[in-house]
Amino acid sequence: MTPVDQPISTEALFQAYTFTEYQRTVFKCFAFKQTGTILEEKELYSHVEKIADQGCQHLVENILTDLVFVDENGVVSLKPGQELEMQKKLSTFVSNQLINVPF
């Protein structure tokens, strides 16, 4: 059993196999849009990781600004008690994206 004063796990909690079939289709779609080819799995995840990173940054800087704080090491955390508000903001953001077609 893990002692209470130690982190539960330092390993990444999300792994490739945790993604659904639909998510994997989306990843392939993003990669294909940019490269024009269907990437092998390893390349694919490396590619979408970069996109996800940029997406997160965009969200933190533009959409969720009021709900997060960034510590001195640059680690972004959600302010306590703002979980539902974040849910609403994300949903509203997605909804607006669907209405405001960018092309």
């Binding site: 639909y22 998510q23 989306v26 779609c29 849910q87 609403k88 909804s95």
Partner: protein, 665 residues
């Protein structure tokens, strides 16, 4: 006491030196009317008289935290701008008492500091007897002297603010005790009480002497008697204390009941607020449910964001693969074999370079190309599947979001309503209600305990009195046998008899006075009340503590049901009765000073007062506004010939009032 003049110097609104001469009994013109609008200084005159007589710097109606400045503000401002030596604020009252002329004067020295703070210091008090040419300057002696004319405890019966006069019928227990002592003083009952105390003291001394000089059984019985007497005295004191406690508890319960009544009046609003709070709770649950549904949509939410990209890539694939193309059902190996064998699957021979051979070769090329694009087809199928799944999901998201927003809006509206009700009910916190109920319960238990102790004490007093009676009989027998100290024994007997006679006399006198007060108060009340009031009220009852009750036609207590105006009339009936009874055969030589007395009275009550008061008092000073005392009321008094002086208070500049005498007719 009859007030002749009032001189004020820089007092309240009265800048400089100003003077009022009051109507006198000469030619029977003892009514003085001072007419002034609100804020002109009527209450200032009332303050001046109570300040001169009793040194009062605050009135009963002033709130405890109010900072009342007696010195005129204009005078203070001018002094600050000029020499800044301070302002003398003086009130001088000239009055006669038992045909002797007196002047009482009080002076305040006041400073207005640079920071706007005002400092007032009483500088001097002086009572001058013009006949004897004597002047008293000691505050305590002056107080004692004024007290001997009009007991401070009942001053509010003679100098009163009409707006608050009905409070005399709502006095607290402590106030009632003080008022009762004041009334006893006014009616000279306290002289008798003092005489009885002296007799009790003498009786105790004689008993002690006898105890000292007697012997044997007589001494024993006497000692026992004295012990019982002392015990009885203790019981009586304790009984009085318990009565006070019981009255105080009763008054607290009454106060709580009044507060609870206020809660009751707001009960509808409180229950509506509860309903709203319950509705808000239900809405909150619904909002949480809507939020949960939105959270459960998260899996789809991220996919929706890729919808544009999915369509874009699908279009690319369509272009690459061709829209109408179907995936081939013919395998490449089969075509290769047919072309190598030059035999169709049906057995027909195919000639090389024939038309059929070329068709087959074209088909083989196409199938080979398709096999090379197999991954793309698979990818496109995945895309189509996902796009199918996402169809209308954007509408689902919008509907979920709308659901959450709607619940939030409804909740906000409900909370606004609750906030509004909270504002209205902010003094009626429900916690206070619980606290009040708990406090009431405690008090009721306490009352039961005190009442039990009181009854127990009454029983003990009864027993002690029986024992005392037996001991007195024994002492009488023993006295015959002892034959000693006959003189002392006789002395004790006589003092005891005198004491008992005095007790009977006081009780009788007090009963007579109360009966007379009841009778005269009832007569006055009947004269002053209008017809409907007379129908409801049968009699005024003066209780043992000199508080008032009215009895209705069915013989039931009715005070709680009468209006404020009727309470005011009741108080006035009692005050005039007090003046009549204390005065004996003639009117009591005291002024009736009334500040805005008619504000709450109906026309008929006021008319009756105007006709009646001059008949029962020696001096009437009326401070009135034009709303309560117009031309017709003035004419009514003037025509009766009682009005001696008429003044109007006119404002000359902000905070400064001039007293102007006007002709009566």
């Amino acid at each position: 006491m009859i007030i002749r003049t009032l001189k004020m110097e820089n007092f309240r609104q009265f800048f400089g030196s100003q003077f009022i001469e009051f109507g006198s009994q000469e030619q029977n013109q003892f009514v003085t009317i001072v007419h002034g609008e609100n804020g002109r200084g009527k209450t200032g005159i009332y303050r001046a008289i109570l300040f001169a007589l009793y040194g009062d710097r605050h009135l009963d109606q002033d709130s405890s935290d109010s900072n009342i400045v007696l010195t005129n503000i204009k005078a203070l401002e001018e002094d600050r701008k000029n020499e800044h030596k301070g302002v003398q604020c003086i009130v001088q009252l000239e009055f006669t008492h038992e045909n002797k002329l007196f002047t009482i004067e009080r002076e305040i020295m006041a400073y207005l500091e640079e920071d706007g703070n005002i400092i007032e210091r009483v500088q001097r008090v002086q009572l001058h007897n013009h006949d004897l040419q004597e002047t008293i300057t000691d505050e305590e002696k002056v107080q004692a002297w004024i007290h001997s004319i009009l007991d401070e405890r009942v001053k509010n019966y003679f100098f009163f603010d009409g707006e608050r006069i009905e409070r005399l019928t709502r006095a607290s227990h402590q106030q009632r005790l003080e008022i009762a002592s004041g009334i006893k003083n006014l009616l000279k009952i306290d002289h008798l009480l003092k005489a009885r105390n002296v007799l009790t003291h003498i009786q105790r001394n004689v008993s002690k002497q006898l105890q000292k000089y007697s012997t044997g059984e007589y001494k024993k019985t006497l000692t026992k008697k004295m012990e019982i007497e002392e015990q009885l005295e203790g019981y009586k004191k304790r009984k009085l204390q318990l009565k006070e406690e019981s009255d105080s508890i009763e008054s607290q319960i009454h106060h709580i009941d009044e507060q609870l009544q206020a809660f009751h009046e707001k009960a509808d609003e409180i229950s509506k607020r509860k309903e709203l709070e319950r509705f808000a709770e239900k809405l909150e649950e619904e909002r949480q449910f809507a939020m949960k549904q939105l959270t459960q949509f998260n899996g789809t939410l991220q996919l929706l964001l890729a919808k544009d990209a999915l369509f874009f890539v699908k279009a690319q694939l369509d272009q690459l693969l061709g829209k109408e193309e179907q995936e081939s059902t013919i395998r490449l190996e089969l075509l290769d074999q047919i072309l190598a064998d030059l035999t169709c699957i049906c057995g027909t021979k195919i000639e090389e370079n024939s038309k059929a051979f070329h068709h087959l070769e074209t088909l083989r090329k196409t199938v080979k190309q398709k096999e090379n694009q197999k991954d793309l087809y698979q990818f496109k199928a995945e895309l189509l599947k996902l796009l199918g799944y996402l169809e209308d999901k954007d509408k689902t998201l919008q509907s979920l979001l709308e659901g959450v927003k709607q619940k939030e809006q409804e909740l906000e509206e409900i909370w606004q309503q609750i906030d509004y009700m909270n504002q209205r009910l902010k003094d009626t916190a429900i916690e206070d209600l619980d606290q009040l109920n708990r406090k009431r319960e405690e008090l009721v238990q306490q009352r039961a305990k005190v009442n039990f102790q009181y009854q127990d004490l009454e029983e003990k007093i009864h027993q002690a009195q029986s024992v005392l009676e037996q001991l007195e009989w024994s002492l009488r027998d023993l006295k015959v046998k002892s034959g000693v100290h006959q003189k002392l024994i006789r002395k004790l007997e006589e003092v005891e008899q005198s004491n008992k006679a005095m007790d009977r006399m006081i009780k009788q006198f007090e009963q007579d006075v109360i009966s007379e007060l009841e009778l005269v108060s009832t007569q006055n009340l009947f004269y002053l009340l209008d017809e409907s009031g007379r129908m409801n009220i049968k009699k005024v009852k003066v209780l043992d503590d000199y508080s008032l009750e009215v009895i209705n036609s069915f013989g039931q207590p009715f005070l709680a049901n009468i209006s404020q105006g009727q309470r005011q009339v009741l108080s006035l009936s009692f005050i005039t009765a007090l003046a009549q009874v204390a005065g004996g055969t003639k009117s009591l030589e005291l002024p009736l000073f009334m500040d805005t007395p008619f504000g709450r009275l109906s026309g008929k009550h006021q008319q009756n007062l105007l006709d009646y008061i001059p008949q029962v008092c020696s001096q009437w000073i009326l401070l009135v506004t034009d709303k309560e005392f117009g031309e017709s009321e003035k004419r009514r008094l003037v025509e009766q010939g009682y009005v001696g002086k008429y003044y109007v208070l006119e404002s000359t500049e902000p905070g400064v009032t001039q007293i102007i005498e006007k002709p009566i007719k």
